[in-house]
């Protein structure tokens, strides 16, 4: 029993530093979201519950608009799936890493947001640290930050006024840094380049509101058509299995 406790605590200690950028981002963005709900006329209970059951930033902002317009459950469901479709890719990419995580698996999948995926997918977990607990702590800490931010924002509402303009860039900065990490590890840069180029081209063609689905479709097509050279390039890269 005592040993189990040490395993859990050392995983927490190893996981926490990786989540610091996300703490900054989620407390800030969560507060913004909570304030937005507050000034839209909702009690703090709404952002508090939604931060837990939905746990997906962009959709939660859209959901405020949905709650304010007429009741359309089917449309809401379809919108949610479209906005969150990129999670399908995270699941595919994590099939292997989340294998054999036992009872932790549903929690890992439930909290598989952009940020938890980024860390669990890219961090090399140190030897001697329990991988399952490490990934679960990353997931839970991130959920805790988002929950805390959203609830605080909903409680304090428009009373808070601080100049944090530009803090949202913390997420972009983290993805860029992870991108550089991966780039340095790769022998060939096919997959990294495919991601940037296809997304950018689709953004120009389809616009900010509707470019994600075409992007995902094009990425799948390119990965399938050029499977042979890409698969070969992955074998050479350092961190791929």
């Amino acid at each position: 029993m005592k040993q189990q406790k040490t395993v859990i605590l050392s995983a927490l200690k190893a996981a926490f530093p990786h989540t610091i950028p996300i703490m900054a981002s989620f407390l800030f963005l969560g507060m913004t979201y909570g304030i937005y709900m507050n000034v839209s006329g909702f009690s703090f209970v709404y952002p508090m519950i939604m931060s837990v059951v939905i746990f997906g930033g962009s959709l939660e902002f859209v959901a405020v608009q949905m709650l304010l317009s007429t009741f359309a459950p089917l449309q809401t469901l379809i919108m949610s799936i479209l906005i969150q479709a990129r999670h399908l890719f995270y699941g595919l990419a994590m099939l292997d890493k989340y294998k054999n995580t036992g009872a932790k698996k549903p929690f890992l999948i439930f909290g598989l947001c952009d940020e938890s995926f980024s860390i669990n997918c890219s961090v090399d977990i140190p030897n001697g640290i329990d991988k399952g607990w490490f990934m679960l702590w990353v997931t839970w800490l991130n959920q805790l930050y988002w929950f805390t931010g959203s609830t605080l924002g909903g409680l304090l509402g428009s009373f808070i006024n601080f100049n944090t303009e530009g803090l949202e860039f913390v997420m972009t900065a983290m993805f860029v840094a992870i991108f550089v990490d991966r780039w340095k590890k790769e022998h060939h840069h096919y997959t990294s380049l495919i991601g940037v180029i296809i997304s950018a081209v689709c953004l120009v063609i389809f616009g900010a509101e509707s470019f994600m689905l075409p992007t995902m479709a094009c990425i799948l097509c390119v990965l399938t058509v050029f499977r042979k050279p890409i698969e070969k390039s992955l074998e050479g890269s350092g961190d791929e299995k």
Binding site: I49, L67, R86, L88, Y90, M174, L223
Partner: protein, 108 residues
């Protein structure tokens, strides 16, 4: 909207989200071996998704108007430079973010 309608709306958002998160794991259960093609897709996507996420973060930047995306461009260069130099995640992220905040608050 009545309270019940609100609850249904929120539930629909949650169901939609969880569908996208759980679907790959439900389709490819860990009891059966993952098909080779799906295993390949998973490994290839792990590299592809980060480029996609960067573009997703920058989707609302307008290069034709306002600051023309210059603060974003400069801050991204700072992140890349810091990361190539020290390769410390927190330093790169903090440096880039502070740089961006100064740029949008004071310069642009």
């Amino acid at each position: 909207m009545t309270l019940v309608q609100q609850i249904i709306t929120i539930a629909m958002c949650a169901v939609g989200t969880m569908l996208t998160r759980f679907l790959p794991f439900l389709v490819f259960s860990s009891k059966k071996p993952i098909p080779k093609y799906v295993d390949y897709l998973g490994r290839a996507l792990a590299g592809t998704v980060f480029g996609m996420l960067i573009v997703y973060c920058l989707k609302d930047v307008n290069v034709l108007q306002g600051s023309h995306g210059l603060p974003e461009l400069i801050a991204i260069i700072v992140v890349i430079a810091l990361h190539l130099w020290q390769r410390k995640m927190l330093l790169s992220v903090a440096g880039g973010t502070v740089c961006y905040m100064l740029l949008v608050q004071l310069v642009f």
